[in-house]
């Protein structure tokens, strides 16, 4: 696979809630033009979750797919009354499924996320790379920063809406960075986001916790 499709793959990866609560499950899907990412994670310990992701993309001449398995680790958490801050790491492996699967198709997954949240403010920085296990000449890298504010604070059984701005940077891609304003909706155990970037790329994400 060329490197540009890999950057696009990376842009699909979401670590919104890498670790939930012990024995909790999170299901996530992200949709962009011609691309879909689905992820499930299960928290086996209060600080560790195991996860599987699947990304599919329709490129010009072929369909690209990448399943991956990874471990999400809560490295550090700060809990205060009315706020929480976290640092996570993501480590794993994926494989590009195409007509020619070789050792170059194996990719490591290395990521880190830091976030801070109060009932009214949310900010998160995520960085991810998926280098080939056999070729380290070019390492694709993406970074995403989000900032959100809640115009009002809803109760648990009410709909909570956030206004979120997302900035993405993908190494070696043109017309950087990409900015996507979006609305995030929270209702009990379900979250969904809708937005369109300034270059016309739509973003839709859904997440549910069990």
């Amino acid at each position: 696979m060329g490197y540009k499709p890999m950057y696009i793959f990376l842009s699909l990866t979401a670590f919104a809630h890498p670790v939930t609560f012990k024995n909790g499950t999170a299901l996530t899907s992200i949709h962009r033009p011609k691309m879909t990412m689905t992820q499930a994670n299960y928290t086996i310990h209060r600080n560790v979750a195991i996860a599987g992701s699947y990304i599919r993309m329709d490129a010009d001449t072929q369909e690209l797919q990448m399943p991956s398995l990874h471990v999400n680790t809560l490295l550090k958490r700060w809990n205060q009354i009315g706020s929480q801050a976290n640092v996570y790491s993501v480590t794993g492996m994926g494989i590009e499924l195409s007509e020619d699967v070789t050792t170059d198709s194996l990719r490591a997954m290395l990521g880190v996320q830091a976030d801070y949240e109060t009932p009214k403010v949310y900010t998160a920085l995520t960085a991810l790379s998926m280098p080939s296990m056999t070729n380290f000449a070019n390492i694709p890298f993406t970074a995403r920063y989000r900032f959100g504010v809640a115009p009002y604070v809803a109760r648990y059984n009410e709909l909570q809406i956030w206004v979120v701005g997302q900035v993405e940077y993908m190494s070696d891609m043109k017309h950087q960075p990409y900015f996507t304003p979006m609305l995030r909706y929270f209702y009990r155990t379900v979250l969904w986001e809708t937005g369109v970037s300034l270059n016309g790329t739509y973003w839709f994400q859904m997440m549910a916790h069990f």
Binding site: F21, K22, N79, I81, Q84, T118, Y187, H209
Partner: protein
């Protein structure tokens, strides 16, 4: 007297005082509420749990003649991903520690 009554109303559900009230650090969203509720509802001794995000408060009503120790409460809150600021019990529920 009035102040005491007003404070107690925070811990009242359906006219009944909660057995245990827990001030929790780190609860900021509805996903947080779900995690806490699941952990406490999974305990055999717990009858009802209510979470108040505004006050960072978890109120627990126990089943008849059931107990829930401070140590167990701490484990449940930590497994949900949070920390305890304070545990308060109604007079009928004295502190329980091993």
């Amino acid at each position: 007297m009035l102040t005491t009554l007003l404070l107690l109303t925070n811990f009242v559900f359906a006219g009944e005082l909660a057995d245990i009230n827990i001030k929790v650090k780190g609860m900021v969203c509805s996903f947080c509420v779900q995690g806490i509720e699941k952990k406490f509802k999974g305990e055999k001794s717990v009858d009802t749990v209510k979470v108040n995000l505004d006050d960072s408060l978890v109120s627990v009503w126990l089943k008849k003649n059931q107990l829930l120790s401070d140590e167990r409460i701490t484990v449940l809150v930590k497994d949900a991903g949070y920390n305890i600021a304070e545990i308060k019990r109604t007079p009928a529920q004295p502190p329980i520690s091993k």
